[in-house]
């Protein structure tokens, strides 16, 4: 029987089942065993697995990343969490100089099987240091794997794969996906790292996106379909190693590419996807690839500014329309209504965190 659960529950279930099958898995992070349990993703684990494996930690992101690495080298499989992605920046030395390189620089003698869960904040004034999307930074580092699940199904399957993988995996969650629901099998299963997925088939244009931007792209594709433009939406799922083949296959089919990347513009991941299409499927392209990103700016806190900062469905629609030399439409014309303020994803999101 098919069962729908939330993205949060999917992460929780993947963690619990992975810990049950492998005694070397443990999870640590500030607040992991606290009453809120990392937005619910760790609730109940302490009771099931005890506080040795469900660990709070000192506010020492750098050393604790090193501790995770060291323990992984001697046989443990740590999951390290940060309630906001921005906090990982304190530990980049350990991630980039050590975790990412350890296997290669010591000739394959050791491996560092760690998962670092990062949550990208958005809305309710998260502001400059609580809402950064730095996937391209991590994807640039050889030795790291970077996943950005969109569906609850992938949230569970990719987390199980990340935990079982023998390499450091950066697992990026978007806060606005936490409450979405989807079909998730009860038993443990994996979704392979390094494989994109066509979430909506289409013939006219490929919209490649990741994480929360897949949801926005799906909505845009629905509106576009009403005007006779059938977009194929490709959920990248893993940014490193990137499934270039799926990008090329889709672009060869549609002849057009729009990349929607929830991150700043310059040197962002969208450029990598566009470059892949240009290098490998140039002859199939009917128009130059385009991208929708955040502007090259820190995220402002005021809703008045943040509302302009984040691209929306209408921006995706109009970017696609311009690629077909069609005039832009307005939200009013398309009947796109906002019954909630733009700084929250849905009614369930009440802030402040």
């Amino acid at each position: 029987m098919e069962r729908e659960i939330s993205y949060v529950k999917a992460i929780l279930e993947a963690t619990a089942q992975s810990m049950a099958e492998d005694a070397s898995v443990y999870i640590m992070g500030l607040g992991v065993p606290d009453p809120k349990g990392i937005f619910g993703t760790t609730l109940g684990l302490k009771e099931q697995f005890g506080n040795q494996r469900i660990m709070d930690m000192p506010v020492s992101e750098s050393a604790m990343t090193g501790v995770a690495i060291g323990s992984a080298m001697v046989g443990m499989r740590p999951i390290l969490t940060h309630q906001r992605l921005d906090f990982i920046l304190v530990s980049l030395d350990q991630i980039i100089n050590n975790a990412a390189k350890w296997h290669y620089m010591f000739g394959g003698k050791m491996s560092v099987p760690i998962v670092i869960r990062l949550i990208v904040g958005r809305g309710w004034g998260q502001g400059p240091q609580h809402s950064q999307s730095l996937q391209s930074l991590f994807a640039h580092i050889p030795g790291l794997k970077v996943v950005m699940p969109f569906t609850p199904y992938d949230a569970k399957g990719l987390l199980v794969s990340a935990i079982r993988d023998n390499n450091p995996v950066i697992y990026i969650e978007h806060r606005w996906l936490h409450n979405i629901t989807g079909i998730v099998p009860e038993k443990i299963y994996t979704v392979p790292l390094g494989k994109a997925r066509v979430v909506k088939e289409g013939k006219d244009i490929t919209i490649a996106a990741s994480s929360y931007m897949v949801l926005e792209s799906m909505k845009a594709a629905d509106y576009l379909g009403k005007d006779g433009i059938f977009a194929e939406v490709l959920d990248l799922r893993t940014l490193q190693p990137l499934d270039r083949e799926s990008i090329i296959n889709s672009v060869e089919k549609t002849g057009r590419l729009l990349v929607v990347d929830g991150a700043c513009h310059t040197a962002g991941f969208a450029a990598e996807v566009m470059a892949t299409a240009t290098e490998k499927a140039f002859g199939h392209l009917k128009v130059s690839p385009q991208r929708i990103t955040y502007p090259d700016l820190p995220t402002p806190t005021s809703p008045a500014l943040a509302n302009v900062y984040y691209p929306r469905v209408i921006n995706i629609i109009n970017a696609v329309r311009s690629m077909f030399r069609l005039p832009g439409r307005t939200e009013d014309e398309l009947g796109i209504k906002h019954d909630q303020p733009l700084d929250v994803p849905d009614k369930s999101f009440t802030g402040p965190f």
Partner: protein, 329 residues
């Protein structure tokens, strides 16, 4: 160096001396051949600092873990790291301990319990703590030792690491070699004269001790206490030893002429050579003869010669190796 314990087994004393001598001769051989330009990676020689590696590692078994930083040849050898694999690594050969990917700054020998050395200051400190944490979680009785320079105590990750080690009472020993300089920057421009690292670490609830880093017996005895503490499950220990780097920060030469330290200071420390001073004591105690020293030097020299031959004659990694081992499978 008047603290030499006469009760100590003379064979042990000689072993400590000869192990120091072996490191010295390896480092001198590297220095001598470095100008051939076949060792194409930075080398940070530990000549003058051999006693700490030997006094500390004498208390460890192969199942104990050791990690280190950029000046790690002595630590690697003292822990039982394979000499041939080390030299081959410095020569960039496929027979090197890291298949030629790491060089002098990335030594490893898992069979000897040497988990790795890296040159970002303080970088391996939390990893060694993590190795100890992993051992503790798995219920294994082994200790982890991390060698570090005094500059690493200036890194934030050091404070973070000792806090966690103390919190979890981890079986980890931090061995700080204070050689007074970080590259060319003296202690005086980096730490206040009032700063007391031992007192700082002690403030975290950690067992601390300090001593003469050129006196192998003193180091041996202080490490014995620290190891006992850690093995009993009483938590981490921090040992600080004063010592001196004889040669330039990086490379085979002496650099007292460039102006960051005085020839006089260097000569003062040379008088306190950990090897010749200890050798004199053992001779005075009549437990060591000139002949034994001569024979040992001959034996070690032959071993080093063989290891260099191995390194020089080993093949470079094939080009296809470039893409190997990015990810573990």
């Amino acid at each position: 160096m008047g603290k030499c314990n006469n009760v100590m087994n003379p064979d042990l004393k000689k072993k400590l001396l000869f192990n120091m001598l072996r490191i010295r001769l390896v480092e001198e051989a590297i220095a001598e051949r470095y100008s051939e330009k076949k060792m194409r990676c930075p080398v940070h020689l530990c000549i003058g600092q051999e006693a700490i590696a030997i006094g500390v590692c004498a208390h460890l078994s192969t199942k104990d873990y050791v990690m280190s930083a950029h000046r790690s040849h002595g630590h690697y050898l003292a822990k039982g790291g394979d000499l041939k694999a080390m030299l081959a690594e410095i020569y960039g050969k496929v027979t090197g301990c890291s298949l030629g990917r790491g060089g002098s700054m990335h030594l490893v020998d898992l069979d000897a319990g040497f988990l790795g050395a890296t040159p970002i200051v303080g970088g391996t400190i939390p990893i060694a703590v993590g190795a100890a944490f992993g051992s503790q979680m798995k219920g294994e009785s082994r200790i982890s030792v991390v060698f570090m320079g005094e500059a690493a105590t200036e890194e934030g990750v050091f404070s973070e690491s000792i806090n966690f080690a103390s919190l979890k009472k981890l079986p980890v020993i931090f061995v700080c070699e204070n050689n007074l300089y970080s590259v060319y920057s003296p202690l005086s421009v980096r730490q206040s004269a009032e700063r007391n690292n031992s007192a700082i670490v002690k403030g975290y609830g950690i067992y601390t001790d300090k001593g003469d880093g050129n006196d192998v017996i003193e180091i041996y005895q202080k490490m014995e206490n620290a190891v006992g503490h850690a093995r009993q499950g009483l938590g981490p220990a921090y040992l600080e030893f004063d010592t001196y780097r004889w040669r330039e920060h990086c490379g085979p030469n002496y650099d007292n002429n460039i102006g960051y330290r005085s020839e006089e200071e260097y000569l003062d420390w040379r008088k306190r050579c950990p090897i010749t001073c200890f050798e004199e004591i053992l001779k005075q105690e009549k437990v060591l003869s000139d002949l034994e020293v001569k024979e040992t030097v001959k034996k070690i020299t032959a071993e080093i010669e063989g290891a260099f031959n191995f390194a020089v004659s080993s093949p470079f990694p094939p080009e296809k190796d470039l893409y190997h081992h990015l990810y573990a499978y």
